[in-house]
Each structure stands twice: as structure tokens, then as C-alpha cells.
Symmetry: C2
Subunit: 207 residues, 2 copies
Amino acid sequence: MPVKHIPDIVVGRLPQYLRSLQRMALEGRQVTSSQELGERLGISAAQIRKDLSQFGGFGKQGTGYDISFLIRQLRTILNIDHDWDVAVVGAGGIGSAVARYHGFTDRGFNVRLIFDSDPEKVGTQVGEHTVQDYAQMAEIIEQAGVHIAMIAVPSADAQDVADKLVKAGVKAILNYAPISLNVPPGVYVQYIDPSIHLQRMTYYLSR
Amino acid sequence: MPVKHIPDIVVGRLPQYLRSLQRMALEGRQVTSSQELGERLGISAAQIRKDLSQFGGFGKQGTGYDISFLIRQLRTILNIDHDWDVAVVGAGGIGSAVARYHGFTDRGFNVRLIFDSDPEKVGTQVGEHTVQDYAQMAEIIEQAGVHIAMIAVPSADAQDVADKLVKAGVKAILNYAPISLNVPPGVYVQYIDPSIHLQRMTYYLSR
């Protein structure tokens, strides 16, 4: 499907639209509107219409959006019309929880590999996965052709892990360590840092 | 400290500045620049200067920013110059990992309470915390005066949990369930959904 350049800020909203639409589909719904999507997401209906019009009109004036059609389109645009294998680095509390989490599979992702450098953890089972030795990580990831990884190691180690992942061919990193990573062009990083979100809210709370 | 209205988009960047500055402080650094901060964060130096000037100038032209002074100012502005107690709802994989995580304490937050409705989990230990019964949650949170909570329950239960939390006086919710929550004005919600971040990156990956 040919897709023209979409601004990054719009790309960032598409997964939210997809998530809401998938929830509506689970509720057995067939049609929705920009108004309803907007209310669910706290985004204006006008913004949603504008975003979706960036890559062609999906709704007809007055009849709303066909939910299953829009889900298929968004999955194609977001490049998750096939599943991606994911590696998790770090088998501590967060890494283990993420590797055991079953919510990725219907969102386009399968955790396939988990690594740790702690000899006590290597060989143990985390959900369906056996923790493998960090020393073999680069080779295993390269051979498996895995392009997405999650980093769940202490901050002090996160940049080294990222460097190794990039060398092994990883193109997208979800970083749970509370530190900014440097990666070369063509590699993407996103961050999960709950404290950042909490601090963003405490600003608004009365002292 | 009197603070004028700061746009929400700027508020969202302040915790990132604070995190980078705290890391520099840990490295023993005393002074930084908007250029250096920008390189660490992937934000332009001009943007950082503009953001920080919103609430008064913290740096002098040519001498840079005093790191410890700026940390103190940002902590005051973000309302984390004192610690906040936090309740975790859900003692599954994610909830337990979050409750055990030690990275919140130097960011302004202390997990104090954890709840679950599963009788098998109530009374068990998660790190330093004993899992308490969800049936008593509202009362305990209200009595403790806790205003911040994290939701780590299945999507189908998340809105009910949020409603109960709001009634108990919670003003800020960090939601790990992959669903949008409706809350009344004056209550803030932020979301942690790794799939959203992953999908935002797969858009850019070659098929």
C-alpha cells in the first residue's frame, strides 16, 4: 500500500486510534465516528478526521468509519499486519513481567528471547522462555533476525546493551531504563519511564 | 514559589530535563548547557532555553546552567520537593514489578500500598509490601490520604478501579491497562502501554 509521508506527531496518535478501534471490535461494534473516538481518547473529532485524512478518507460524511476496515488499514500503515519477534534484555522484575505479559500478541508482537548476564538467572524459566546468556546475545539475535528489543537493565548498563543490540541488527528499542540512549540514524528508541509520567501529573496537584 | 501558567507540552518536557540533570549530578557534574541537554535528549537547544525561560531565567549567557540549582527549581515546579505516597492496584506481573521497583524513591515517589482482589494473593508479600484486599481499598486509601495510584489490572476491570480510586480521593492515575479511562475534571491520567510505543516505531521499519 503506497503511503505518503505522515508527520511523526500523527504517527504517534495512530496506535491510540487502533487500540480504541480494536476495543470497539471486541465489544462487537461495527461502525464508529470521529466524535466517539475523540471522546474515548480525549482528542478532538476534528483532529482525528484530519489525521485519518492524511492517508486517504476512511469514512463517508454521515455514515462514520467501518471499524474492521479501519483496523486493517491502520495495521498495514503501522506495519503490524504481520507479527514482529521481540527480544527482552534483562530478566529482573520488569524484564520478567514484560516477557510473561500476554498483551503483546494481539498488538503485533511476540516476545521470543530473553537474556541476562547473571549466571543465577541464565537457564531459568520466565514464562515460556528460557533466560539465555547475555554473552551470546548479539550472535543469537543476529541469527534469529530479530529487529526489535526491550531493554530492562540498570541505567548504568543500558547504553552498552543498546550498542550491542544495534550491532546485532536491532532497529527499534523500547527502553525501560531511566536514561536517554544514543543510537545511530535509522534506529528508533522509545522510552517507558513511569516517574516521568507521575511527575507530569504532580505538577497539576495541589501542594 | 509563584509559577505562571506553563503550557502542558512544556510541562511534559520538564521531567525529562530533570532526569538528565539528575544523571549529570550523579556523574559529579556542576554546570551544563542547553546544547548538552539537547544532545542528551534529542531536543533542540533553542527549545530547551525557551522552555526554561517560561518560569524565569536559570542560566546566564555563556556560563551555562548550575545543575544543582536547576534540579531544585524543577523539583519545586514539578511539585516533587516532597515525596508522594503511591498505591498500586493489581499484584500480577506488572503490578508486582512496579511495587518492587526501587527507582521511584529518588524521583519523588514511594509505593506504600498494594491491592488485589484475588484471595490467593491477599496477605502475600510483594517486596516490602503486604498485598491488601481490594474490597478494603477505597477505605484504606482515603484514610491514608494517598492521592496517586497505579492501575495494573486487566483492561476489563480498569475503569471500575479508576472510579473507586477517584471516589477515595485519588487525583493522579498511572494506568498500565491498555484502555482509555474516563475520569472527572481535576483528576489526571497517564498511560503506560508498551505496544503503543512499539507500533510507533514499526511504522518506520522496513517491511
